[in-house]
């Protein structure tokens, strides 16, 4: 009788203590993730499709939004400027017709597909649609990965 009670109190004590401590540390981890971000908005307008030259990589939004826009005869797509290897910003080499990352030498074609260097996969594309006013809207909160077959998704490529 006595023994059973003693075990109960001690085990309850330790369980509660472990639970509370665990909860506390869980909360500390949660603390690392704020509820809002003070970062630039993820979607933005870039102008009308006709503002972009055919078959050119448009670098106007590289600095401000980390996006390249490419317009082809069929339409437009928005490429992330973040190298899939370790997140450096590749350079567009117009003469070689490729993106080349200075950090570890990954190379990407204009489509974003990787073909040299350590990059494990193609550059990501962002959601690109026409806004109500006819401007091109790029939404970085939705990304499309080639290797998952997402580039075929209607919003990964804006048919013009």
């Amino acid at each position: 009788m006595k023994r059973r009670k003693f075990i109960t109190w001690l085990s309850v004590g330790w369980l509660a203590f472990a639970g509370a401590t665990g909860g506390f540390f869980t909360m500390i981890i949660r603390f690392l993730f704020p509820n809002v971000l003070f970062e630039p908005p993820q979607s933005f307008k870039v102008g009308f499709p006709s503002d972009f030259q055919l078959n050119q990589v448009d670098e106007r939004f590289k600095q401000s939004q980390a996006v390249w826009l490419v317009r082809t005869a069929e339409g437009m797509y928005a490429l992330s400027t973040v190298c899939t290897h370790l997140g450096c910003t590749p350079n567009w080499l117009i003469t070689d017709n490729k993106f080349k990352c200075p950090c570890h030498g990954s190379g990407f074609r204009k489509s974003g597909i990787n073909f040299e260097g350590p990059a494990p996969r193609p550059l990501e594309r962002y959601r690109i649609v026409l806004a109500e006013d006819g401007q091109v809207l790029v939404d970085k909160s939705v990304k499309f990965q080639y290797e998952k077959g997402q580039w075929d998704s209607p919003e990964a490529f804006l048919t013009t």
Partner: protein, 954 residues
């Protein structure tokens, strides 16, 4: 357990129990911490809104119209196409196999090709490097050439396979083309529906897949709600609008959208707060509006604590005490302390416009605020209170340096003592017999002061030469003239107050004083001369010269002088109390000298000297010079508190005195002060000269609200110049011109920028009223307009109302003309005058279209001085003026559809023959060849008419 009992002090069981209990308490407090961290007002709002959104989407889905028959049709078509496709299944399988094989080959060929390209690049670099270093590069060049050839071969090979694949794929596509077409047609039909369904799948658990439903249930649970929450704080960061935190400015951050979830969504107009759609999406919030939410946020207009995420911490302020009570009940609301810029109560929301629309005389969409600003201008608040916005606007009251030629001292006394006893709606405020100075002692003092002021004014007043002798006139005719000639664009004759309150439009009609009782005020000679040419009395007056003939002036003057205010005339003027005068004089003097000396000094002065001294001090004390030009006060400084940043004044700097029945907010203080300027002296014991002295304007509640709005809007602001409304040249020019237009009340007679022209109510017929100037900038040549404004000429001889002559400077006229231009989207450019071939076909066609059988212009229009054949009331301007006056492009637009440009115009749309009209046998007999040739070409025909109009009289 192997410890011996005697080695322990405590009973282990007791300790275990304490440990257990304290750990449980620990656990409970941790759980409480979780809960405390997790529960928020905005979360509940978001859950509620989501339900509302689901409901709305479902309703939209139900009402989304889909043509059922068409749908069935398309579905059948698709079915059919699929069946058709099934018959080709064998070939499709075959093709799939072929493609796979070819792709294998192609992949390998491409790999080889790409490898070779890479090698080629490296070899090119080596070759170039060697060449640049001047090394022997024979071998490298050779190798490069070989590699190039090989690469080319690989390329061809790879392309060959690609062609093969493309061939197969084209066939597949061809086979599938019908199904594809059918399904895309169906998708097009169901577009709206599928969009709504997609939205429902995102927010409505019932429409979700099982996995998504589970995810939706757990995504907002405590702790893991950082991974993919659906409930999250909405936040807008505006980098170029900044909040001032004293030592720094930080970007504005608004979290209002955490709860105001429907603010930018159409469909929640009827929803309860906080989910309501913004009442004016066209102007605000939506991305197409001029104030998109992402660029302006919420608190930049509404004020408030943008970072707040609870009802109280956001700084909500109720419009009325009842609303406050309701909020206390509902949201546990209390006024936010430690935050000055609380949200404007909805009544005063428009105050937020002013910090960007700084120089706009009329702020579109902000009626209340514009009215407030107009009242401030009219009541000359800026005379006593420095307000940067009105810097350099001059004194708005009559010139008193020559007052003795206009008024009698008796009138002046009674007027100063109580202006409203003479005129019920004067803008001259009342200083005396207010709540803090109506005791008998105060009245004695103030009456004496008024005596002294009148004495001062009349002593200092210079005689003015009245150039003309008054002539007797006919009052009846005068009244007719008064109504017809345009006086009532600015003046009313209003014996009794109106039942309706003043709004902006009504203020146009009351730009000048109400002329009732003029017979009891000014002399015949003065009125007559004033009407003839106001500058004789006041060179800076804004009263224009109506270019009246002597007789007209005499008639009007007879009419105006015929109106007397007998009640006012009957008021007795009290005798001057010299003892009180001495007391006042020595009171003032003793401010700077010993009382003994002051009394001695007063005793040494003559009565006139004493009167002048007290008059001078009183004028200084009451600030009369703020509105009036008074000799000796040319350089006096304003006596009131500067109001330029009144809206930003901390509430604790406002003296509420012992007035406790109003809330402790700036807007309630302003309301109280404007309603009764002396209210905060209540129950205070002060010497007379320290009492509040702001005069009473007897503002109506509407006016109080309007002025309060404007005051709240006068804030200290560190806005980025890019956010100012007149950051571009265009609005700046318009604002300058509009300021003149407003100052001289052009809108009393004309409609300008969609506003004004109230005189039509007097005249009755818009056609007989001053012209609508809405498209004036596009309509007339600026050169002509300038000449006209400087010296108006008759354009419509049938009008009795006339354009007066204004004594404006050239630069003011320029502002006006340019603002007309910019209002119509134009710019000031050099223009070549329009030319056309005299005697050409175009002119002939125009002449035909204008002829009596067709357009019959001459029926209404004067043709080069020749009067029209039609009704006098329909008479229209002389077409001979057109060439000089009107812009050729405008004429074409005008002729296209006169009613669209100026609704209600009497100008009919001219007949323009279409192709069909002339496409019949024998048309040549009716229409000249010049018309037939261009019939159907509207532009050419309108151009022909314009050319004809231009040719009239030339």
């Amino acid at each position: 357990m192997d410890l011996k009992k005697e080695e322990r002090h405590y009973d282990p069981e007791v300790l275990h129990r304490w440990f257990g209990i304290s750990s449980l308490l620990f656990l409970a407090s941790i759980v409480a911490m979780f809960g405390n961290d997790y529960v928020h007002e905005w979360k509940a709002h978001q859950r509620e809104f989501r339900q509302a959104d689901i409901g709305l989407t479902r309703r939209n889905l139900e009402t989304a119209a889909v043509d059922v028959a068409l749908r069935a049709d398309l579905e059948a078509k698709q079915q059919q196409a699929e069946e058709q496709l099934a018959t080709h299944q064998q070939r499709l399988d075959e093709l799939a196999g072929l493609i796979e094989l070819a792709e294998g080959e192609h992949h390998w060929a491409t790999m080889r090709y790409q490898g070779s390209v890479a090698d080629l690049g490296a070899e090119r670099y080596q070759l170039e490097h060697a060449l640049a270093e001047g090394e022997q590069a024979q071998k490298l060049a050779e190798r490069f050439a070989n590699r190039t050839a090989q690469t080319q071969a690989y390329k061809l090979e790879s392309e060959q396979f690609q062609i093969e694949i493309d061939g197969y794929e084209a066939e597949v596509k061809r086979l599938q083309s019908d199904t594809k077409a059918a399904s895309s047609e169906l998708a097009e039909l169901l577009r709206e529906v599928s969009l709504l369904e997609r939205k429902l799948r995102l927010i409505d658990r019932e429409s979700m897949s099982t996995a998504n439903k589970i995810a939706d249930m757990i995504r907002d649970l405590p702790v893991i709600d950082f991974m993919a929450p659906s409930i999250k704080i909405g936040q807008i960061i505006i980098n170029d609008i900044r909040d001032d935190v004293n030592f720094a400015v930080v970007p504005k951050v608004d979290r209002c959208t955490s709860c105001h979830l429907g603010i930018d969504k159409v469909g929640f107009e009827e929803a309860q707060q906080p989910y309501t759609t913004h009442p004016n999406l066209e102007l605000f919030v939506s991305s197409g509006s001029s104030h998109p939410m992402m660029e302006y946020g919420c608190t930049s207009c509404h004020n408030g604590r943008g970072r707040g995420t609870s009802f109280t911490s956001a700084g909500h302020m109720p419009s009325s005490p009842e609303q406050g009570e309701e909020w206390r009940e509902k949201y546990d609301w209390e006024p936010l302390v430690y935050w000055e810029e609380k949200i404007f109560p909805t009544t005063y929301t428009e105050a937020g416009c002013l910090k960007c629309h700084v120089n706009e005389p009329m702020i579109g969409g902000a009626e209340n605020l514009t009215l407030g600003l107009a009242i401030m201008e009219k009541a000359s608040c800026y005379g006593c209170h420095q307000i940067d916005r009105f810097e350099g606007w001059g004194r708005r009251g009559p010139n008193l340096s020559v007052v003795s030629s206009k008024l009698t001292a008796e009138f002046a006394f009674k007027w100063i003592r109580n202006p409203r006893s003479f005129r019920h709606n004067t803008w001259m405020p009342t200083f005396f017999a207010q709540t803090n100075n109506s005791s008998p002692e105060d009245v004695l003092r103030t009456d004496t002061e008024i005596h002294a002021m009148v004495a001062y004014l009349f002593n200092k007043s210079e005689p003015v030469h009245m150039p003309l002798r008054a002539r007797p006139g006919n009052a009846t005719r005068g009244q007719e003239l008064f109504d017809a000639v345009g006086c009532r664009g600015c003046h009313v004759v209003e014996p009794e107050p109106l039942a309706v309150e003043t709004d902006l439009d009504r203020m146009f009609q009351r730009h000048g004083p109400n002329l009732i009782g003029l017979g009891s005020k000014a002399s015949d000679a003065w009125v007559y001369n004033w009407i003839k040419d106001p500058t004789f009395y006041n060179p800076e007056t804004r009263m224009p010269n109506m270019r009246l003939s002597d007789r007209e002036a005499a008639d009007i003057s007879a009419y105006l002088r015929g109106m007397r205010n007998t009640a006012f005339e009957a008021i007795e003027v009290p005798e001057l109390d010299v003892a009180e005068l001495d007391r006042i004089a020595s009171g003032w003097l003793s401010k700077n000298a010993a009382e003994e000396d002051a009394r001695a000094e007063v005793a040494g002065m003559s009565l006139d000297e004493r009167l002048e001294f007290v008059g001078r001090r009183s004028i200084l004390h009451y600030g009369c010079f703020s509105c009036h030009n008074i000799p000796g006060f040319e350089d006096a400084k304003p006596i009131g508190t500067p109001l330029t940043q009144e809206g930003s004044k901390p509430v604790h700097n406002l003296d509420f005195g012992s007035v406790h029945e109003i809330g402790h907010t700036n807007f309630e203080w302003f309301e109280a002060k404007l309603t009764n300027p002396r209210i905060f002296d209540r129950d205070k014991v002060k010497p007379y000269d320290e009492k509040l002295r702001m005069p009473n304007f007897y503002f109506t509640p509407t006016q109080v609200r309007a002025v309060t709005t404007a005051l709240l809007g006068l804030v200290k602001s560190n806005l980025h110049p890019d956010k100012m409304a007149d950051r571009k040249m265009e609005p700046q020019i318009i604002n300058r011109g509009m300021a003149v237009i407003k100052g001289y009340n052009c809108q009393g007679c004309h409609i300008i920028d969609g506003r004004g022209g109230q005189i039509v109510q007097v005249i009755g017929d818009p056609a007989m009223s001053p012209p609508n100037l809405n498209t004036e900038g596009a309509k007339v040549h600026p050169d002509w307009l300038y000449r006209f404004l400087k010296a108006p000429t008759t354009i419509r001889p049938n009008l009795t109302v006339r354009m007066p002559t204004y004594p404006l400077t050239d630069s003011q006229w320029n502002d006006v003309i340019r603002s007309f231009q910019f209002l119509d989207g134009g710019t000031i450019t050099f223009e070549r005058s329009h030319t056309f071939v005299t005697g050409g076909a175009s002119l002939a066609a125009g002449e035909f279209l204008a002829s009596a059988d067709m357009g019959a212009c001459s029926k209404c229009h004067i043709m080069d001085g020749k009067n029209p054949t039609g009704n006098t009331a329909d008479w229209a301007p002389d077409l001979a003026l057109a060439r000089d006056r009107l812009r050729p492009e405008w004429i074409v637009e005008w002729l296209r559809d006169p009613n669209a440009m100026m609704p209600g115009t009497r100008m009919p749309q001219p007949y323009i023959p279409s192709r069909e009209d002339v496409d019949f046998e024998g048309a040549e007999e009716i229409f000249p060849r010049s018309v037939i040739r261009i019939a159907g070409d509207n532009e050419a025909l309108l151009g022909a008419l314009r050319d004809y109009i231009y040719s009239v009289g030339n």
